[in-house]
Amino acid sequence: MAPAPAVRPIGESAVLIDFGGEISVATNERVVALDRALAAAPPLGMVETVPAYVALMIVFDPLVTEGDHIAAHALTLLETAATEQRTPREHVIPIRYTAAPDLEAVATATGLTPEEVIARHLDGEYRVFMYGFGPGYAYLGGVPHALQVPRKPRAERGHPVGSVIIAGPQCLITTLPMPTGWWVIGHTDAVILDSVRAQPFLFDPGDVIRFRRAEN
């Protein structure tokens, strides 16, 4: 059985349930399992939860409860959450590799041809580890080793919403026209963040993503 997570206070209005260690699917799966368990059985005073790679933040109303109560509730849920089997939700996202200003540069950096870069990228199975950086920015882990390139020395502007970008083991689909130092290798018309949709955010942490090549 995996070791119990550490509980760390974040001021007086949140606790971090920290499973520790390196980024891994197994650890992130524990984060996701606890997150789901808390959503199904929230403790009194819980405001929201924020899953990340290896830790879950639980934000609460300090006028209603306190960190010790929240943490005790979470650790109790953890015992049952850990044994639950789950089939992750899967999404298939179409990508056009024509709107790809950095495809050549990635090919050069990895010693592959552009077509090989595309084939490797399509081969990957990606997992939504967490959101961060900006609204709707879902960190998709699972870029194949052969495609892993460090991010650029500085961020660049001018990439449209829906840009498919990579850096290191991560892939991401942009939801805002924000500057990025990641490599733009494609574009998707899939809308990750649509504020008027019943579920504004397309992915949940723990979901599995596959890409398919879209017709131009």
């Binding site: 206070p9 974040i10 007086e12 390196e22 006028l63 709707g136």
Partner: protein, 330 residues
């Protein structure tokens, strides 16, 4: 009759803010909402719009003209002063703007102020809130010169000056709880946090405020991105500290040595650039006690602002101002 307000000038950080959005930090969306929550709440209480929104202004100030009708307003926070057609400028000002009159707002000693109006206007909403996420401009949105706002059911307000809340005094100590990543720092850095003087710098926006002081260099910055919260003191690789504010990123790969307690965060955001102070490390139960005491004092303050009768008399007769001091500075 409706009232129409037009911005003739608006400083670069002017936005619409309501109390903020919850439940979407998990998707990368911070709460946003006012940087100074108490001053914001005072502006709404004084205009009778408890669940409404206000314009948030910063150093650039702003000028609004009433083009139609008449409407009450409240200008609260940061020592920002307002004059109507050049009359005596005053902070924490409540009054009525009549057709053709201009309210000019200028910065005071603080950094953020709230201008609320006594009427109804449906500001744009995004993900359930009109709070503006400044980086994206989503929500109620940024304000630029020329923008007009039509208010229905406008009400005039009797002119008065709200007694400045005692929290407007500039504190020289701010309380923090260590963590969540204090273990990434050497013992000397933890000692420096409690002993060294820090300063509030002029480098701030709605995401955070850069602090001056000794570098608190983490032993390593190799950590997975972890969730972040308003009030976290985040160290970059060189040990420079930033306190995270309303529009903070929801996760970050930089270690957070400590987290400020709720009521102190907004006060640090308001202190003038160059102000020196110390951090006081307290434990989570003490942080909880102080936050609850501050909240009950804030609530009493808001109730008094919203009650009928002469405002200054109500506040002073209830001794709320003194009570407020006692509650937040034990």
């Amino acid at each position: 009759m409706n009232a129409r307000i037009v911005f003739e000038a608006a400083g670069p950080l002017t936005t619409i803010q309501d109390r903020g959005r919850t439940g979407v930090m998990r998707f990368g969306v911070p709460p946003s909402g006012p940087v100074d929550r108490l001053a914001f709440a005072a502006s709404l209480a004084a205009t009778g719009a408890a669940d409404g929104w206000a314009f948030e202004l910063s150093h650039g100030g702003g000028i609004v003209i009433c083009e139609e009708g008449e409407i009450g307003f409240a200008l609260c926070g940061g020592g920002f002063i307002g004059d109507i057609d050049g009359d005596e400028p005053q902070a924490w000002r409540v009054g009525t703007l009549r057709r053709g009159q201009r309210l000019r707002v200028r910065a005071g000693a603080g950094n953020w102020a709230y201008l609320a109006f006594a009427g109804q206007h449906a500001a744009p909403r995004w993900l359930g809130s009109s709070a503006t996420h400044a980086t994206s401009g989503l929500g109620g949105g940024p304000i630029t010169a020329g923008m007009a706002f039509d208010f229905t059911a406008p009400r005039p307000l009797e002119a008065c000056i709200l007694p400045p809340p005692p929290s407007a005094e500039v504190p020289d100590r701010f309380a923090v709880v260590l963590g969540p990543q204090d273990r990434h720092f050497p013992a000397e850095a933890i000692a420096q946090l409690t002993q060294a003087p820090f300063t509030a710098t002029a480098r701030f926006d709605r995401m955070g405020r850069v602090l001056g002081g000794p570098p608190l260099v983490p032993a390593s910055i190799a950590m997975p991105s972890e969730p972040a919260l308003r009030g976290c003191l985040q160290a970059d690789g060189d040990g420079g500290l930033t306190v995270l504010l309303a529009d903070h990123q929801t996760t970050s790969g930089y270690p957070k040595i400590a987290t400020m307690i709720g009521p102190d965060i907004d006060r640090l955001a308001q202190v003038p650039a160059g102000h020196a102070f110390h951090f006081e490390v307290i434990d989570a139960p003490e942080a909880l006690r102080r936050t609850r005491a501050a909240a009950s004092a804030h609530e009493a303050w808001r109730r008094a602002l919203a009650a009928p009768g002469r405002l200054d008399e109500r506040l002073w007769s209830n001794n709320l101002v003194d009570g407020f001091i006692d509650a937040t500075r034990p």
